[in-house]
Point group: C2
């Protein structure tokens, strides 16, 4: 089982090409659904009683929901916009609603989960979940700029306690106050984790372990609709491939980074989780194999 | 012989970490020296009689200078600065000096050159050189934003007459007025060339032919001193490997893109051509092989 901690809620997203209102989103949603193509996937999150039944039905189909709390009130709602090149996101509104002050509870049946993904909730919430589990085989965590600025100390404690971090390039720069992501990633490795994956959006991702660097390029896409959730889908694909392979060897980790790129590339082709709904594992393997032949020389 | 057309002059460059004044630079300088590690390399350019003898001696050592004109006056001088992440360059001053109004003349002995690189001089100068040569086996061209804005028509004629273009990602977006570089590159292929290489700085480069896409990541560098010239060194390494291989097959083109990345990665480690001076072909092959094992999965 891959247990995913993260936000679950509704996203309103504006792009120069199309805008959408209140579609399902959140780091927990994206990572858990991406992971569900590879292995059993559970979700620790909270939604309000306004959370659309349509989305709850999709969750029921694909996920174990023992850790999803439904509370009276409104669901988390995030409003953001993207510019012409779909590169930089501007946050417009973050309505925490039931997510505000939530103290995540790990259900009994998740406590011995082998794989744990701590999505971009607050470091104190991530630490609380770490305190409740029996030492998973592999734990990875993500964060966002907001937590680097407001709870750096808590975040560094999270980093010291997990096996791996998945961070985007700007987060690495901010965390280390250094311009170079390679020296930055190496500095973060000194804080404790065995590996760091630096996500670079359309430019791919780089895996750093103490011994090796594995740079990858992104899967080239002609159609990018909405970059939201790509990083969490990366994490879901990455964890998913490790979970189904049962190995954490360097060669399997490298494959997992590529599956992460593949899942991220699917995610951005449509808004929300729309691209995932018709997807099969054969589609995923097809894109993985295409990527592999594309980049070979 | 690889013939390189381009600017030759002096660069003054400011970065947040260090600044340098009037070191040798220019697109012709960078591409011709990068190419010289692989094959005989000639330079078509113009300098003033103030061009330092120290640099002229380096040129004499490495290059065929039949196409380099020395004219009374000052050499081309370019002043620019980079911000914290060394990503975006700001032009501060472009003193054309003897380069202004220069009409390049192709020496007799270059007219049957097999390989021709048209660096980022004006489209009319590139067309003039194309008119003077006897149909090289492979011609590639580069440009800069300035020419996209001031002589788009001339540039499109250049594009229609060369075998390949090397452009950076922003130039592709500007040229096609489209946000996506993959659809952009495909549009440019429709204008005539057989291939496009889209350079993405530290994020590597993507080769587009009519049939295939070959994305590559950049060689990961901990120390980036000055991004100036990376694109031209990419072109020099790319042409260089094709010239020494004698083949333009897809598989050799792919290797050439990686040699391009490798030469670009050396270039940015120091200001000007300083990193190239102590470099040997063994260093280049070493980095190529390291890159290959780094990215394999």
């Amino acid at each position: 089982m891959i247990v995913n901690l993260g936000t679950v809620g509704l996203d309103t997203t504006e792009t120069p090409f199309k805008s959408v209102s209140k579609l399902v989103g959140g780091s927990g949603t994206y990572s858990s659904i991406a992971a569900s193509f590879f292995a059993e996937s559970g979700l620790i999150g909270i939604v309000g009683d306004d959370f659309p039944e349509e989305y709850m039905n999709i969750f029921r189909d694909r996920l174990d929901l023992a850790g999803l709390v439904v509370e009276k009130g409104k669901s988390f709602h995030y409003v953001s916009s993207f510019g012409f090149d779909l590169g930089a996101r501007t946050s417009i509104a973050t309505e925490l609603n039931v997510f505000g002050g939530w103290d995540p509870v790990v259900p009994e049946e998740y406590k011995d989960a082998e794989f744990l993904y701590l999505g971009n909730v607050g470091p104190q919430q991530q630490l609380s979940v770490l305190d409740q589990v029996d030492g998973p085989r592999l734990t990875i965590a993500d964060t966002i700029e907001y937590w680097i600025n407001t709870d750096r100390e808590g975040l560094i404690e999270v980093i010291s306690r997990v096996d791996g971090m998945v961070l985007n390039d700007n987060e690495v720069r901010q965390l280390c106050q250094a311009p170079n992501i390679i020296t930055g990633a190496k500095e973060i490795l000194d804080w404790g984790p065995r590996f760091i994956v630096v996500k670079k959006g359309e430019h791919g991702a780089i895996l750093f372990t103490r011994e090796k660097v594995f740079p990858t390029c992104g899967y080239p896409l002609e159609k990018i609709t909405d970059p939201t959730g790509a990083g969490d889908c990366f994490a879901g694909g990455f964890m998913g491939h490790l979970a189904r392979s049962g190995s954490l060897d360097e060669s399997v980790m490298r494959e997992a980074v590529v599956y992460g790129n593949v899942m991220g590339s699917f995610a951005v082709e449509e808004f929300s989780i729309e691209r995932f709904l018709p997807l099969t594992i054969e589609d995923i393997e097809g894109r993985y194999n295409l990527y592999k032949s594309m980049v070979s020389f």
